[in-house]
């Protein structure tokens, strides 16, 4: 076949170009009405994308312009205060760091453990596995304020009775973002081809040895992406913390899991609510810091996903 018609020869190329131009000449002869309609439709679609992105850039640009006077080192070195000139994000940053440290401690083992169980151990057809799957998808869409009430009724008070502490905030936020970790980690584990597992099992490895030495290492980039996405959601989350009695005008830095709750989005929320314009400026500056942090985290997650994505 390739002897008679080799597409690389010059004659074949001339023949193909000729055939293509004839075909295009016949088929591209679209009615003018259709051409106009098509172009209009495409422009409307592009306009939709442009409006969404323009809204985002407007938000970011406005925050930068409004917050510019307070975007300096004082923002990071001053504690919160009821006087706008003395107020800064220092204690809020400490609060966010403490909360996130414990969120990571909770979501990494539990999220990955649950994903491994659902993908590698539970039988796919079982009713239970399907119920757990629907349950996790549903939990991912429960409003965050409801997690806040769960934290108030079950963790701060009630059975766990941890009080309004950093630990309470961490557990509540961990529950909120666990579905994200589980869903993304499952996808990463699922994309490891079965032949890797079969090879390992055939060599006499146990199921756990297969998971730990073959499946998990191959799935690490995907799992890391999920964890970073979950953390960036948790860092920007405010509504969950409102019912947890968050002390927004805390004047000392949180120093451990038993400290009172404060966090960047909460402090920003309180600044927005203040009537004075100075606090609005401060709030805009805080929003810029928060957005830069979240965009950096999300970009890193996207980079990880694209850089280490394995095609088997």
């Amino acid at each position: 076949m390739s002897d008679r018609f080799d597409p690389r020869t010059a004659r074949a190329e001339v023949a193909m170009a000729g055939a293509r131009s004839v075909t295009a000449g016949v088929l591209s002869d679209q009615p003018r009405k259709d051409v106009v309609r098509n172009t209009m439709f495409a422009s409307v679609l592009f306009l939709a994308v442009a409006i969404a992105l323009a809204g985002m850039f407007w938000l970011i640009a406005d925050s930068v312009i409004d917050g510019a006077p307070r975007l300096n080192a004082d923002l990071f070195t001053q504690q919160n205060s009821s006087l706008p000139d003395n107020a800064g994000l220092k204690s809020a940053i400490y609060g966010t760091l403490w909360i996130m440290a414990f969120v990571v401690l909770f979501i990494v083992p539990i999220g990955v453990g649950a994903a491994v169980f659902l993908e590698e151990y539970a039988s796919k057809e079982s009713r239970l596995a399907r119920a757990v799957e629907v349950n996790i998808q549903n939990l991912a869409a429960v409003p965050s304020i409801i997690y806040g009430l769960l934290g108030l009724a079950f963790i701060a008070r009630g059975p766990l009775d941890l009080g309004f502490t950093i630990m309470t905030a961490s557990i509540t936020l961990a529950l909120l973002v666990l579905p994200i970790v589980i869903l993304v980690a499952r996808e990463a584990i699922r994309s490891v081809p079965p032949s890797i597992r079969e090879g390992s099992l055939a060599l006499g490895a146990t199921q756990w040895q297969t998971v730990r030495r073959q499946v998990l290492p191959a799935a690490i980039p995907g799992i890391a992406t999920g964890i970073i996405l979950a953390l960036s959601r948790a860092i920007g989350e405010t509504a969950v913390l409102l019912p947890l009695g968050a002390a927004t005008f805390l004047t000392s830095d949180p120093s451990g899991p038993g400290s009172s709750i404060t966090a960047m989005p909460l402090v920003i929320f309180n600044w927005v609510k203040q009537p004075s314009d100075e606090f609005r400026v401060l709030a805009a500056a805080g929003i810029v810091v928060l957005i830069v942090l979240l965009v950096a985290m999300n970009s890193f997650a996207i980079f990880l996903r694209n850089r280490y994505e394995q095609r088997w």
């Binding site: 939709a48 969404a52 985002m56 304020i145 009724a153 146990t206 989350e237 989005p265 609510k273 979240l294």
Partner: protein, 319 residues
């Protein structure tokens, strides 16, 4: 096994080797139960949410009749005398959700059709991450944007013949800010659904002489309809449950109106302002918060289950 054992057990044992592990592998069992425990946490979370909402709500309905709660038009649980008609805040939530969808459905679907049918690979590589950044903007920033930017902008361009002017807090600015939040949800879930439509359907339509716009609207769009509807339901559920934006931009005054220019109170805003850390457990205010939360949870639960089912449907058809 020693060689002598094999010899002693005879040829039958050789042809039927034992496949059981040499040791009982207790470690593997322990690991199995640990992992199952991790998965069980999601079930425990759901159970805890339902219990924590249900118990105070049952108490609440012992004190306030369900009829007064669901059909009453006066909302002021902390007033004297208190009023427990939930309709004003339900209408507040629905009004904000309506305006957000009115903005987000055309924009989100337009973006989805563009991404799946028109965008070059390079355009996709830029637009998809940009939409993901938009999805990651913290809600407190969107609330600030609604209050400080959108409302003044609306006030300055508001055409007089429509009557009135947007108030400092208004449902429209809140709705638009939420719209910005849910555009990426509609765009990405609908894009996934349309990209999953097999190429053969498109090629068939092209072969019959359809234009690109016809293929997109008459073939791909209907074929991906269940996924598109799922994305809209998911986005509505997110809009109904959104707290910070309505709290900052849409106001906190219970108001039985669909007028987008007035200040309203959404269910989430009521919960967030009332359920602060110093609320006394067992008080009627505390129970009211949980009754409203139960209603909110029920509304979003129905929508989420519907959307999960629809997504599964298109997956079953095309994947």
């Amino acid at each position: 096994m020693q060689a002598s054992d094999i010899a002693a057990s005879g040829p039958a044992a050789l042809t039927k080797p034992r496949l059981e592990a040499a040791s009982p592998r207790y470690g593997e069992r322990v690991i199995y139960y640990l992992l199952a425990g991790c998965a069980a946490i999601s079930v425990i979370t759901t159970t805890a949410i339902v219990i924590s909402l249900l118990l105070p709500s049952v108490d609440f309905f012992g004190e306030v009749s369900p009829g007064d709660f669901f059909f009453g038009t006066d909302w002021g649980p902390t007033f004297e005398p208190p009023a427990f008609g939930v309709l004003p805040i339900v209408v507040g939530t629905l009004s904000v959700t309506f305006w957000s969808l009115l903005f987000a459905i055309p924009i989100g679907l337009g973006a989805a059709i563009y991404l799946s049918e028109y965008a070059s690979r390079r355009a996709r590589r830029v637009i998809k991450p940009a939409l993901e950044v938009l999805a990651g903007i913290p809600t407190v920033a969107l609330g600030f944007f609604g209050l400080v930017v959108l409302t003044p902008a609306l006030q300055s361009i508001w055409p007089g013949f429509l009557g009135g002017e947007p108030a400092i807090f208004n449902a429209l600015a809140g709705g638009l800010a939420i719209g910005l939040l849910i555009v990426p949800i509609i765009a990405s879930v609908s894009d996934d659904a349309m990209s999953a439509v097999p190429g053969g359907l498109r090629e068939g339509a092209y072969a019959l002489g359809a234009t690109k716009a016809k293929v997109a609207t008459k073939v791909v769009f209907p074929a991906a309809l269940s996924g598109i509807v799922a994305s809209i339901i998911l986005a509505s559920s997110r809009a109904i449950g959104e707290t910070m934006i309505v709290l900052l931009a849409a106001g906190n005054t219970p108001n039985l109106t669909f007028n987008p220019l007035e200040s309203i109170q959404a269910m989430t805003a009521f919960i967030a302002t009332t359920a602060t850390g110093d609320i006394a457990t067992g008080s009627i205010t505390y129970k009211t918060v949980f009754a409203v939360a139960l209603l909110l949870f029920a509304m979003t639960l129905v929508m989420n289950l519907l959307s999960i089912r629809l997504v599964r449907k298109y997956r079953e058809v095309y994947e």
